[in-house]
Amino acid sequence: MSLQVELEHYRNVLIVRLRGELDHHTADIVRHKMEEAILRGNSDHIILSLKELQFMDSSGLGVILGRYKQLKAKGGKMAVCAVNPNVYRLFELSGLFKILTIHENERAALTSLEVVS
């Protein structure tokens, strides 16, 4: 079991869908793909869509926190959506909800970023 990263641009938002298992081994893939997209600069904000993320550990927290910092330095916002209970616990434990907003689905996340009328 590995990790697939799907990127979709919607107006000024980059939607990042993670499918599979995010650990130390697969964190590099996420970092490279997101870093590249952030540096390319087509998107102001990021939505992490985690419906099909089956496993995550603290390496996932690290890579998400890293991208958050990168995005914040450029004035962007990050939101997460469709978080399963296991991933939710990790976010809660690490205090990541203090800096990321959480939403039920991609649409709600897009609305929160004010790109859907």
Binding site: D23, H24, A27, R31, F55, D57, S58, P85, L93
Partner: protein
């Protein structure tokens, strides 16, 4: 009383083995019929311990070997993760939430905190230059036994719901 049911795994300190390690432990523990949440707790704790051994214990050297010992005794799972790597100089500091010795690798510093929270008991012992050993246990509330309890047969003290 029968002794514990045990298994032991030793594998190269390579990141691609992190997934193998947690899946192998989960497969062994599945005989206790754990809930999805319990299984995920165990997998996460194993993943943290093995990742620490690979990144910190062996500093990414794939020649290092990581050993996992798992014992099932009654409804309790004991897991020991051992490396013969560099060890931890300051255990107190390493256990602080959000502390990491490798911020450049985007480590979150949450590994020990997660293991402590997801398992019932957690202990780390380390000798600089000798290696690190992490011992953790968790009690599995078997779903099978709960079913028996619900119809009032089992002696395990589960609430009668029918």
């Amino acid at each position: 009383m029968n002794g514990a049911n045990m298994m032991m795994l030793t594998f190269s300190a390579r990141s691609e083995n992190e997934s193998f390690a947690r899946v192998a432990v989960a497969a062994f523990v599945s005989q206790l019929d754990p809930t999805m949440e319990e299984l995920n707790d165990l997998k996460t704790a194993v993943s943290e311990a093995v990742t620490n051994a690979i990144i910190h214990g062996y500093d990414g050297d794939p020649d290092g070997m990581v050993t996992i010992e798992v014992a099932i005794e009654g409804d309790t799972v004991s897991i020991v993760v051992i490396d013969k790597g560099r060890g931890i100089e300051d255990l107190e500091l390493a256990r602080q939430p959000l502390y990491t010795s490798k911020p450049e690798l985007e480590r979150s510093g949450m590994g020990f905190t997660i293991m402590e929270n997801f398992m019932d008991r957690f202990e780390v012992s380390s000798e600089p230059g000798q290696g690190t050993q992490i011992a953790m246990t968790k009690r599995i509330e078997s779903k099978k036994r709960c079913t028996i309890k619900r119809i009032g047969v089992g002696p395990h003290g589960c609430r009668l719901e029918t």
